[in-house]
Symmetry: C2
Subunit: 208 residues, 2 copies
């Protein structure tokens, strides 16, 4: 039976979920698929490209189109869905972070584009909108990688008697806090930017 890209990504995702990133090696993956390591290099140029494909698979659920109106909810919603997608797979945040940094995730590019559009709606001027989007993404990836490593660390160790408040509720509240800080910052910046544009507009009209 022929080996397809899909099978490879499926098997890679399974290894990730069951054993984590450290075990997601080309050789191990080949063994699981019962092919020689070299076979993988017919379908993927290198390991980075393969990891990028796994990242895109993980991010699929976060890619449904924006439902909410209003840039604040668009950013908040996008970020929550991103976090949820990352938390759905072992070491998800770490994997996606690495793929994003290596520029190997088309899904992350799409997410940044959407967040940039929302930032533009907030009043952030042209070229800064993508930067604003990246700033938000740095937060989500950093926070979630941190959260996930702690989560996985004491998933093996001490199971706290309270299985909810500290382990799931608190992180979500904390995540929302940082998100609010960013959104309020964008609102403040956007407002002053819109003011400046309006001022220039008036000046233009007076001179024209």
């Amino acid at each position: 039976m022929q080996l397809h890209k899909r099978d490879v990504i499926d098997a890679a995702t399974a290894i990730l979920d069951n054993f984590g990133m450290a075990d997601l090696t080309m050789r191990r993956l080949a063994r699981e698929l019962a092919v020689s390591p070299g076979a993988l290099y017919w379908h993927f140029a290198n390991k980075q490209e393969l990891l990028g494909a796994v990242a895109d698979r993980i991010l699929q659920p976060a890619l449904e189109p924006h439902v909410p109106p209003g840039w604040r909810d668009q950013i908040a919603d996008g970020c929550h869905r991103l976090r949820d997608a990352l938390l759905s797979h072992t070491d998800g945040a770490e994997l996606v972070s690495a793929s994003f940094a290596a520029g190997q995730s088309a899904a992350m590019t799409e997410i940044v584009t959407r967040l940039a559009a929302a930032a533009a709606d907030a009043g952030v001027a042209g070229s800064d909108a993508e930067l604003a989007a990246r700033t938000v993404v740095y937060y989500v990836l950093g926070f979630t990688a941190d959260e996930q490593s702690r989560l996985q660390w004491d998933a093996a160790g001490a199971t706290l008697p309270d299985g909810q408040s500290v382990l799931t509720a608190e992180p979500s509240r904390r995540f929302a806090f940082g998100l609010t800080v960013l959104i309020e910052g964008l609102a403040a910046h956007g407002d002053s930017e819109l003011l400046a544009t309006a001022r220039d507009d008036l000046t233009q009209r007076r001179l024209g």
Copy 2:
């Protein structure tokens, strides 16, 4: 001649600067020091611990005490010094990011503590101050790792005719932009928090 921790960190930093993170391996480091690989494990428990020590060395210049008064300048200054330290070594941002995520950098812990104190001054309530500090740190690490990888990528390739505006001035402006968004967000949050505290205070006084 006896091998000391200092010598190991020195040699590791030299490899990093001259060849980058991919070449910073235990075996290569041992070769450079003319010892066997096993010797390193007398001085460091594992590679992560050694990388943490290199991270702390890199961060040394960012650890001079806060000079400016006012929480805004304290955050802005701290972040600029952090970025400068990271950019002073090849793959500096990547190395410090990894060490921070692994909880192996005492210097990063110190930096977070200082930023948290500034956030508290901004009016961010107790336990959220550290989270605010981490949020800022996620931004600096994310932005700088990104900046540095692009910088190093086209340091080998196309040397743009303009050697200043896009390669150094623009990144600095862009870095400041994201920082302002975060600081304004903290200001907005801090103000509303202070208002709430004041309101509670009044209520207490009315009831008491």
